[in-house]
């Protein structure tokens, strides 16, 4: 019964866009109940890697295993069906639509027979209210527009949606980068909850503090390559920061500024 194969196992994934080498051999594993932080500065290849995992891009070469099985995704739908849900930073929710409509977008439960098939919005409202309550967001009315929610709440709703629809792996693309302190801690707390449910989380960020707060393991990406994977016990936050920024230059700057960076 117990399977020890990681949820996601990618080996030597390479992705070229014409003459541009975006990923030149990236390896990464994600286990159940684990938050794997993917760290890297701008241009390190984080976005390309997520989009490859999410089925948007096809890797040029390399192996991709889900639950120990080799897979090839041709569309985001394939990834979703395999239980890999991606929550993009700004592109997760539609502000003009209600919380319910956003929650069930693309997976509306229908009733009745064709051509009179309709969406059971009462049930949808019920589920949305319940799920929001579960993650501690006080949705006054599930029919209110998502635009009225705060940035942190929106991220949480997007994550809750992915969890509700049976995701095994969550890919969170910089979920905290546009948020204030209180909002960030709300999202981080929720990520912790998701981990406890046994899901695997890939948490992409360039904020080492946020990563260190919830991460179990850290993979640092630089110039399309993995610099290495570290467990929380095996690395200090300062080392991680230096590694991510490419080491020496930042140390120099940091010394100049009196250790502020």
């Amino acid at each position: 019964m117990e399977t020890h194969a990681p949820l996601i196992d990618i080996r030597n994934v390479v992705k070229h866009f014409g003459s541009v080498i975006a990923l030149s051999g990236v390896s990464l594993t994600v286990n159940r109940g684990e938050v794997m932080c993917l760290l890297g500065d701008n241009g390190a290849g984080k976005s390309t890697l997520i989009k490859t995992l999410a089925g948007v891009h096809k890797p040029t070469s390399g192996e991709f295993l889900v639950d120990g099985q080799h897979v090839t995704f041709t569309s985001p739908r394939d990834a979703l069906d395999a239980g890999i849900a991606t929550v993009y930073q700004d592109l997760a929710m539609i502000p003009l639509m209600s919380v319910t409509r956003n929650f069930f977008m693309g997976r509306e439960p229908v009733k009745g027979f064709w051509p009179f098939r309709y969406v059971d919005f009462d049930y949808c409202d019920e589920v949305t209210r319940e799920e929001m309550h579960r993650i501690g967001i006080d949705v006054r009315d599930p029919n209110q527009a998502v635009g009225t929610l705060s940035g942190g709440e929106r991220q949480c709703v997007a994550i809750a949606r992915a969890v509700y629809f049976g995701a095994k792996v969550l890919i969170l693309d910089e979920p905290t980068s546009a948020l204030g302190v209180a909002q960030t801690s709300m999202v981080l707390k929720y990520i912790h909850q998701v981990r406890q449910k046994g899901l695997g989380v890939i948490f992409i960020t360039h904020n080492v503090r946020h990563a260190y707060a919830v991460g179990d393991r850290f993979t640092v990406l630089n110039r399309g390559k993995t610099l290495g994977t570290y467990t929380k016990s095996g690395i200090q936050i300062e080392e991680l920061q230096n590694l991510m920024a490419g080491g020496k230059e930042l140390q120099a700057v940091s010394a100049e500024l009196g250790g502020m960076v």
Binding site: A92, M93, I94, L96, M105, R107, V119, D141
Partner: protein, 382 residues
């Protein structure tokens, strides 16, 4: 529970559960106004009430008789069918400026199927819808594949279809820009009755016989029935509203217009939704063409002239945002009625009916400002 003399410990334990429910109820009550404000068609409904009050106080009383209302509603219904389709497309994030020309072009092909090929009415109607859907699909595919704004692509089709209608009419009739004899060629029968003339005649004679509505001295009612275009208008509004608010497709339309990327990420087939909407608008244009051509018995190249703008204006008055993702079919329904009311209503007043355009522009401007305000309210953006 209501006994105030109960020990305090009991009260606190008993109130523990109802606390959240009580709060819920309070919020539900408070949100009634917000709920109303959130309806996109609110502005159009308010506009309709204002316009009605205006004409009640300035227009001749005959405007608000049954015959007067039919006069107002007939042009409103023809525009409204287009406006509702335009509203759906706008909510889906696209425009179609070619619907007016599509009315003329569909009129031409409908007439040609009847007169040149001699097909029976039902087949000609089906073929007209098929050709319109094909052209709408072409519009959609060009927009999707080139990623050009639909504004410019359909502007091209505005001219292409108008030009084709002219050239085609001249070719089909040997030099005339009008094709006559369609009414005779269409013949009589059930299909004809569905697409032209009036409906509910029995009801109206019954109402006249019982003195509910006005009648001539010989007993026939002054209004013999409801023009079928009005029935179609109501039917289209009901189906479109149901589609938009209660079905999967409706949710996909809102999503496609609201944010195509987010929609795609959630598994909504945005391109398919948009193509279907373009086909739908073209079919709405074909329906209007068939209804008006059968009533007039002929078609000409100016049919549907500038209807694309009027339809978009009616949709905007109805609360649809130009940026997509928000709007309503029932709003466009009211928008079209406002339109019909003002254009026809002015002839019942002492005002010069050329005030119509001034009024229209002002109405449009007001509606856009109002919509923008509402959108900020809804999304909480500043």
């Amino acid at each position: 529970m209501t006994d105030v003399s109960q020990p305090t410990a009991d009260v606190t334990t008993a109130s523990a559960a109802p606390v959240s429910r009580a709060r819920d109820e309070r919020l539900k009550e408070a949100s009634f106004l917000t709920k109303t404000m959130r309806r996109p068609e609110l502005g159009a409904l308010a506009g309709l009430i204002l316009v009605t009050i205006f004409f009640l106080s300035t227009a001749d009383a005959s405007m608000f008789t049954l015959a007067g209302m039919m006069n107002v509603l007939t042009p409103a219904s023809q525009l409204g069918i287009l406006a509702i389709a335009a509203a759906l497309l706008m909510i889906g994030g696209e425009f179609d400026l070619s619907i007016g020309s599509m009315v003329a072009f569909a009129g031409l092909i409908f007439g040609s199927f009847l007169i040149l090929t001699g097909w029976p009415l039902l087949l000609a109607i089906a073929a007209t819808f098929a050709v319109a859907a094909l052209l709408g699909g072409l519009n959609g595919q060009i927009v999707i594949r080139t990623r050009l704004p639909s504004f410019i692509v359909t502007l091209a089709f505005l001219f292409i279809l108008r030009g084709l209608s002219l050239v085609g009419l001249k070719w089909a009739t040997g030099g005339s820009t009008q094709m006559r004899g369609i009414g005779e060629q269409a013949g009589e029968g059930l299909v004809r009755e569905i697409f032209s003339g009036t409906a509910l005649e029995g009801l109206f004679s019954w109402l006249a016989a019982h003195d509910v509505i006005a009648k001539f001295p010989n007993g026939t009612p002054t209004v013999t029935g409801v023009p079928v275009s009005i029935i179609w208008f109501i039917l289209v509004a009901v189906v479109a509203t149901w589609l938009l608010l209660r079905t999967k497709a409706g949710n996909w339309i809102f999503a496609s217009g609201g944010d195509p990327n987010a929609a795609r990420n959630s598994g909504v087939p945005v391109d398919r939704v948009k193509t279907a909407l373009f086909m739908l608008t073209a079919c709405a244009a074909a329906l209007v063409a068939i209804l008006t051509v059968l009533d007039a018995g002929s078609t000409d190249s100016r049919r549907g002239f500038q209807k694309e703008f009027e339809a978009i204006i009616a949709a905007v008055i109805g609360g649809s945002l130009l940026t997509g993702g928000y709007g309503s079919a029932i709003g466009a329904f009211f928008g079209a009625i406002i339109f019909g009311m003002v254009s026809i209503g002015l002839t019942y007043t002492r005002f010069d009916s050329d005030w119509f355009q001034v009024f229209l522009g002002a109405m449009l401007l007001l509606a856009v400002l109002f919509n923008n305000y509402i959108r900020r309210k809804v999304t909480g953006e500043r």
